[in-house]
Amino acid sequence: MKKPFTGLRAWLVQRLSALYMLSFIVFFLIHFAVDAPHSYEAWRSWMTGSGVRSAAAVFFAALLAHAWVGLRDVILDYIHPVAFRFGSFVFVGVGLTATGIWVVRILSTEHGFAV
């Protein structure tokens, strides 16, 4: 079985996701410094505009991948009993997957194109 997030690939995932998230955070902060949305309408229309929405979707995908690689490293370093380690992987994996589904729901039609 090919493990997707180990070794060199995990290293690369961690760095590419970091670079993307860093750019997105800078972009987000600049928007708030220059033209902070002061009302619900302004905030929603900015967030749900197709450009920002897609960029945010990629941001959260990067966040989840980054969190997985990081937490996996922490688990491998500190949790040695096999069963406990496996349980930790399952816990983190389920948690991140659920978070991903939640984000997809937030960023999909729910608040945006509906109304």
């Binding site: 619900y40 905030w43 929603r44 749900t48 939640w102």
Partner: protein, 127 residues
């Protein structure tokens, strides 16, 4: 050789080991990373609320009128700032920028102090 290794004293009392400044940067990077992973769902919850309707948006804004939540926000600003600065230091070091010890020490200080400085700025803005 293996026998000798086994008999070596192990001294891992972190409160007594003299840690170089880079060690604090590195431990901080790890601790803040775990804290960010733990706080992410709360951030996503706020994002969800803020986009639902004007009333829940107002609720999110009113959360930050609370003194306790402002303190949490400031701590999280430090957490994020330290993680981003330490991560950037890592990326630069991947590109072989600042890998030499004197430069690495300086950048480690910069990261540790910079994270706190950003948090103090946030405190100034929020409190």
């Amino acid at each position: 050789m293996a026998e000798a290794n086994k008999r070596r004293p192990v001294f891992f009392n972190l409160t007594q080991i003299q840690m170089p400044v880079g060690a604090l940067t590195s431990i901080g990077h790890r601790v803040t990373g775990v804290l960010l992973a733990v706080s992410a769902p709360f951030g996503i919850y706020l994002l969800d609320l803020s986009l639902q309707d004007p009333r829940s948006y107002a609720r999110v804004v009113s959360y930050f009128d609370q003194w306790a939540l402002r303190v949490v926000a400031i701590v999280l600003v430090w957490v994020l700032a330290h993680h981003l600065l330490a991560g950037t230091r890592h990326l630069l070091s991947d590109a072989d920028i600042g890998s030499q010890l004197p430069a690495a020490r300086r950048s480690a200080w910069f990261v540790n102090v910079g994270g706190i400085a950003v948090a103090l700025l946030a405190a100034g803005a929020l409190l």
